[in-house]
């Protein structure tokens, strides 16, 4: 029952017609004729850090059945959602722009006040801002590309038939239910210099002679966090891509084999083109997600050593939580928000999303 419903959620066009014009005002997407129709299966968006998982699954487009005319009832039904979203999302986002123009320390009220673009000028001369941008780019690039590639490999494997496939799938996807903090804790214990199992295993293999302080080392900290986050992030791509793989008609592969095409030909000519849109969209969502993701980094290194794991979001979180420098933090948020928005627009445009080849 449920899977039937789950599979018939939202046509991709809907997403296209709402999101994309927002990004660059184009309307060329609404009249596309792409036969693959995508559905969002599930997203639970804790945009914030944890869960944003959009799955795009082809399926049937549900007929829109419009109902009855009633005056007040729909508004009454929507009231809680409107109040919450307006009061605790839209209004706060507005205030971020307002605070970004202010000197605003929580504990130093005497110094607070309007300073115009002062915070933004300070950002331009802030070395930590530039280094955090570089770390962010590195973080997002490695996380998304590795998650995508490994996730794709896993999806291809799990799409084959073998005994115990259901169980293996469930196990492989399980880190997806684990929080960033928990991931950080488990991996921190394994990375530990003195009692960590990773040092122990590598010593046994003879790869290292002395124990390494993985999270404290200048050369290792970043990669140690990347691996931990990969562990938690790969299932997202594996689930999404597996779902998309299952929609490729088997006859295509048969006819490809009849025509003498090998496995690689089939992969390049059938699998990849079919997965293209899923890959583009899920990668974008993942970029946004990893850009904003602070949980794992916050709990593993706190941005250290020497700010080598301080991404922009991590910098903002530190300004907000540790130093309570709300004005400067807000200004950083504004900058980060626009960076993401521009990236999303350019990315979708460059990848020719939604267009026929």
């Amino acid at each position: 029952m449920c899977h039937v419903i789950l599979n018939q959620i939202e046509p991709r066009n809907e997403l296209g017609s709402f999101f994309l014009p927002l990004l660059w005002g184009g309307s060329h997407l609404t009249n596309q004729t792409n036969p693959i129709r995508f559905f969002i299966l599930t997203c639970f968006t804790f945009n914030n850090n944890d869960y944003i998982g959009f799955l795009f699954i082809p399926g049937q487009v549900a007929e829109l059945t419009e109902g009855y005319k009633k005056r007040g009832l729909p508004y009454l039904f929507l009231l809680p959602a409107i109040v919450l979203i307006a009061g605790f999302m839209i209004y706060p986002v507005g205030t971020v722009f307002y605070y970004s123009l202010h000197n605003f320390f929580l504990n130093r009220a005497w110094a607070n006040g309007f300073i115009g673009l002062g915070n933004f000028r300070q950002i331009l001369h802030d070395p930590l801002f530039y280094s955090s941008l570089a770390v962010t780019a590195k973080w997002v690039f490695w996380e998304v590309s590795l998650q995508l590639m490994i996730g794709l490999a896993i999806a291809l494997l799990l799409n084959r038939s073998f005994k115990g496939r259901g169980l293996v799938r469930a196990l492989v996807f399980s880190p997806w239910a684990i929080s960033g903090v928990l991931t950080a804790l488990m991996w921190s214990m394994m990375y530990n210099q003195h009692m960590g199992v990773i040092n122990d295993l590598l010593t046994k293999l003879g790869w290292i002679k002395t124990n390494v302080a993985w999270l404290g080392g200048v050369h290792t900290a970043f990669w140690a966090v990347v691996v931990a986050e990969l562990w938690r992030g790969i299932p997202f791509f594996a689930i999404t891509l597996l779902a998309a793989l299952q929609t490729i008609p088997g006859e295509l592969y048969e006819s490809c084999a009849v025509d003498g095409g090998g496995k690689w030909v089939a992969f390049l000519k059938i699998t990849l083109p079919y997965l293209k849109e899923t890959i583009i969209l899920s990668s974008l969502l993942r970029v946004v997600w990893e850009f904003n993701n602070v949980n794992t980094i916050y709990a593993m290194t706190g941005g250290g050593p020497a700010n080598l794991t301080t991404t922009l979001s991590m910098y903002i979180a530190n300004e907000a939580i540790r130093t309570n420098n709300f004005g400067y933090g807000s200004a950083l948020m504004v900058v980060g928000f626009f960076i993401l928005l521009i990236f999303a627009a350019v990315y979708l445009k460059a990848s020719r999303f939604g267009k026929e080849d």
Binding site: N48, G166, A170, M189, V197
Partner: protein
């Protein structure tokens, strides 16, 4: 031929599968292993790959002495109340956006989708200030409000999709037979939606249970910590007790795993069923 085929299958399928499963499951195994060891065994070199002797002391002490019982309760309260709100509100919103025609409908849908682009970190400071004004800092209500708001838009869109797939005729029949609108929703729409609702609720629950950065920002009283914040503060202590930390981690992952175990069959099998149909 047969042997060669088997060898190839082993090399291309079972070997990578084993590697993946090892990578995925090793952290779980190691955390469980650590949580079942005595403190002295955890630090002892060479490391023990199986707890010997086994003890459940870490679990009982984490639960009672460290106060994980309380943190667990806090997390459970927040997650349960939030999920109840999310399901109710998103059901109402989803219903209105499907079955009614009214002014501002498209705007509302657009708005819901737009909210998905707002990064959570961006709300950290302004929400803190709002909750401070409302006197809700160090109050679990602040988390309930923040989580509900954050998850509501997506769940409303999801519910709208679910409801769209229920033929209007069924409801119309109920209305003709003398039900009013609310009765039609309660007795006709809800039962059909139930599996979908349970799945969404499970997703929302995992999201609430795992949330960290808002909880860290808004809750400063240690007796109100949720589990992720409690784990983080334990890790930050000068003298970290790894046995407690591991036991706490195991306790923390039980509820989301139970939810995941329930949802994953829809996630995994449901997709293939859909592909056959679609």
């Amino acid at each position: 031929m047969n042997i060669g085929h088997r060898f190839y299958r082993c090399l291309s399928l079972h070997l990578p599968l084993t590697a993946i499963l090892t990578f995925v499951l090793f952290p779980f195994y190691w955390t469980l292993n650590t949580s079942l060891k005595y403190e002295r065994d955890i630090m002892k070199v060479p490391l023990k790959y199986l707890p010997d002797p086994v003890t459940f002391q870490n679990f009982t002490e984490t639960w009672n002495t460290v106060g994980f019982g309380r943190y667990f309760r806090n997390s459970l309260i927040v997650a349960t109340v939030t999920v109840a709100f999310i399901v109710t509100f998103s059901l109402l919103a989803g219903y209105a956006l499907t079955r009614f025609r009214f002014r501002g409908k498209q705007l509302m849908i657009f708005l819901l989708l737009c909210t998905q682009f707002i990064p959570g970190v961006m709300l950290l400071i302004p929400l803190f200030i709002i909750f401070k004004k409302l006197g809700l800092i160090s109050n679990l209500a602040s988390l309930v409000i923040a989580y509900t708001t954050f998850q509501l838009p997506f769940n409303a869109i999801l519910m709208r999709g679910f409801i769209k797939n229920i033929p209007n005729d069924i409801e119309e029949a109920a209305l003709i037979d003398g039900c009013n609108r609310i009765q039609a929703i309660l007795y006709v729409v809800l039962p059909i939606l139930l599996p979908g609702i349970v799945a969404t609720a499970a997703f929302a629950f995992i999201g609430c249970w795992n949330e960290f950065i808002f909880a860290l920002m808004f809750i400063s009283r240690s007796d109100l910590f949720t589990i992720p914040v409690a784990l983080h503060s334990m890790q930050g202590e000068y003298d970290v007790n790894y046995g407690y930390l591991a036991a706490g981690s195991i306790i923390a992952m039980i509820p989301p795993f139970l939810m995941f175990a329930y949802v994953q069959k829809y996630l995994v099998q449901g997709l293939s069923a859909g592909s056959v149909k679609g």
